[in-house]
């Protein structure tokens, strides 16, 4: 395996980590105004992800940095091409980040209510847009011979991509509800369980519709065949079984299963486009792939050494931070946010 492939896998892993982790804090963010009946309850919900959301978001920053370092043309084409969508996503991410930190720093109920809704909207926008973006990467977009996106904004809003957006939205909501079910106590936890049960059906319907649509809209038949293999099938099965785990009061396992769905779906998309990184809908010769988009072998080597040393360290201390704060949070806990 050459270093280009290694970096393709590494970036896939970073996105998997990002969607798995920030997926649940997007979900929790969106659920705040709906599951928290009063101020204390809302604070409990926010505090359940309070320790983690910022560390989760660094997965995205690292993925972006890794794309820039390993595949500069991918970084340049993607972010200049999806420009207005990315602006909206950044606005969402900025607002929700600030909302976490500011919402409980003033006692005024209006202040808190506004920030709760901003947190919800700021989580909603990226949760939707990530699905749109990933789907467009999979489907292919108009890219010319200079590796430049020429499709305009509305080209990104095709029905398949929008279906992808709504699908990630519901899966993140479900993932977030399960996290709350797992991480809180009493009424909030019970309410989160009910929400998860209700969210499951639309989530799986959308997910199945998305998979079906992908057979018509993408190259999946060519690259993976009618039977796409173990990874995508596991993604579907995990989502399917999560329902029974929710019912049987196994929120931890259910959460892991929706996490598997998120992770394996992301892997599936990366496997399906490999060795391309951006597919041109205009001419296959204009695809960006892991070679024509890549940095020099020297840079890839340097970056590999750095990643080899530091990624395990990062993983170790992030897992440690989750371990330190493994206790469930209730209305009686000391709340910071």
């Amino acid at each position: 395996m050459d270093l280009n492939t290694v970096w393709f896998i590494l970036i896939a892993v970073l996105f998997v980590g990002y969607f798995f982790l920030e997926g649940f804090d997007f979900g929790v963010g969106m659920l705040v105004p709906f599951l928290g009946k009063n101020d204390t309850e809302r604070r409990v919900i926010i505090n359940s992800v309070g320790t983690f959301w910022d560390g989760n978001e660094v997965w995205l920053i690292t993925a972006g940095g890794a794309m820039f370092a390993a595949f500069p043309n991918w970084y340049a084409t993607l972010f200049s091409g999806f420009y207005p969508a990315l602006v909206l996503m950044l606005v969402g991410l900025i607002i929700r980040g600030v909302a976490f930190e500011f919402r409980s720093k003033d006692k005024s109920p209006q202040w808190r209510n506004i920030w709760d809704w901003l947190l919800a909207v700021g989580s909603f926008v990226p949760a939707l847009l990530w699905g749109v973006a990933m789907t467009n990467i999979w489907r292919g977009v108009p890219i010319n011979e200079d590796m430049t996106y020429v499709g305009g904004f509305f080209n990104l809003l095709n029905p398949f991509a929008l279906l992808g957006g709504v699908t990630t939205l519901f899966i993140f909501l479900l993932h977030g509800a399960l996290f709350l079910n797992l991480k809180t106590e009493g009424e909030i936890s019970a309410r989160a369980k009910v929400a998860a049960q209700r969210l499951w059906l639309p989530a799986i319907i959308l997910f199945l519709a998305y998979i079906l649509a992908s057979y018509f809209q993408t190259n999946i038949l060519l690259t993976m065949g009618i039977n796409p293999g173990v990874i995508p099938i596991f993604a579907v099965m995990a989502l399917f079984f999560s329902y029974f785990l929710i019912k049987k009061n196994r929120p931890g396992w259910a959460f892991i299963f929706t996490g598997i769905t998120i992770a394996f779906t992301t892997f599936t998309i990366f496997i399906a486009i490999f060795p391309n990184v951006m597919i041109s809908s205009l001419n296959p010769e204009w695809n960006l792939n892991i070679y024509n988009a890549a940095s020099s072998p020297y840079t890839l080597k340097i970056m590999s050494i750095v990643a080899l040393i530091f990624l395990p360290i990062v993983l170790a201390y992030q897992i440690w931070s989750y371990y330190i704060f493994k206790k469930r949070i209730s209305t009686k806990s000391k709340l910071e946010y």
Binding site: N47, G50, T51, F52, D54, G55, E57, V58, L60, I61, T62, G64, G65, M67, F68, A69, A70, P72, N73, Y75, A76, T77, L78, F79, S80, Y83, P84, V87, L90, V91, L93, I94, G97, V98, E101, F102, S104, D106, K107, N144, M147, T148, Y149, S295, S296, Y298, T299, I302, M303, V306, A307, L311, V314, Y317, S321, I324, F325, K334, L335, E336
Partner: protein, 460 residues
Amino acid sequence: MGAVTLARWQFAITTVYHFFFVPLTLGLSVFVAILETLYVVTGKEVYKRMTLFWGKLFIINFILGVVTGLVQEFQFGMNWSEYSRFVGDIFGAPLAIEALLAFFLESTFLGVWIFGWDRLSKKAHAATIWLVAIGSNLSALWILIANSFMQQPRGYELVRDAAGNVIRAQMTSFADLVFNPNVWVQFPHVLASGIVTAAFFVIGISAYHLFKKSKDGQAYRLSLKYSVIYGFIGILLVILIGHSQMQHIVRIQPMKVASAEAIWNTENPASLSLFTIGDEKERKDIFAIKIPYLVSVLAYNSLEGEIKGINQLQEEYEQKYGPGDYVPPVAVSYWSFRIMVGAGILMLLLSIYLLIYVIKDKFEFKPWVYKALLFAIALPYLANSAGWILTEVGRQPWLVYGLLKTTDGVSPYTAVSTGEVLFSLITFGILYGILMVVDVYLLKKYALAGTSEIDKENDL
């Protein structure tokens, strides 16, 4: 306005704004870590109150640095895609390393620090804020390694296509990138300016509480004492390192120095302008007050020493790089340099004045001094912004010095239309404006509430 101009405005606004929050994060993280260490070592409750109080203000400031940093991470690709393709092989590496080494560290451990008071031992808890401080200051190192490549490209080769046109720069030595001499004047200068920013922030707020005779006077006296010492060390370092930095820039980017000093024609010895009103088109002074010899003395530590003028450098560059305008906006460079240095000198004088008092444990000042100290919080911000404006504007027309012009780095209009740039510029402008108001409101509220209110707010 064209797309390039709009993209430049967007980058300038989002970056200067980002850098309102960064220096305070750099300096205050270390300051809070020192306070918590004092708490652990001495066991005195006053240090815990100080840690919590300054820590709270640190967090309110930190978050805006984080969220505006998101824009920084992606806007190279968004607005400057051709730049990203050109230097990605080199520039992307420190950015990715910054995220992996620094951002994970500071954000993970800040979460642990905020929520971990009851979960960790005292020592372990103090260790987490040190990790935050190390993470923040490490992030400055890596982004300045990236920026230094734009100032003084090192450790690269140019890759050409079949027709012989340069298509991109490629890394040949990671060590040359990291040990670029520019890094090692720029990075300590920025670290020291972080110390100064935090010090004047703490000085101003502590002085206010001492003036108002707030409860817990001991905490503010100690805060004032430590911050004055911290700030004095910081401003000395800023000035000394800044001086070395300028001597470095005379050699690597003489045009930046010529425009910062508004030296139109080569001078030997070169005089220092205290105040110049010039005509940028005609390239001449209309009115100027100058001190003879001083630029040569500063640049070369000698009464002799040639400082090349804008006209001569322009000729030289035309021969070297082909026809074009190689003169950066002189008025912007000249005045940003004066604002930075002026603010720096004021801060030095203030630090010396305060130091004389606090080392004798005197904390009583005349009323106007308290007021002045409150306003002095703004001085480091002025200096920090002006410093970056000089660094980046003074490099124009280059994006990467000598290799890539700013006009060649922007995203092609087929990918990003002028309307889209305008849309994002307005969006970020409004959003950032609102966030500034909210952030200042909260900082003010928590600063005025003082050390004794901190715990009450937590137990709502």
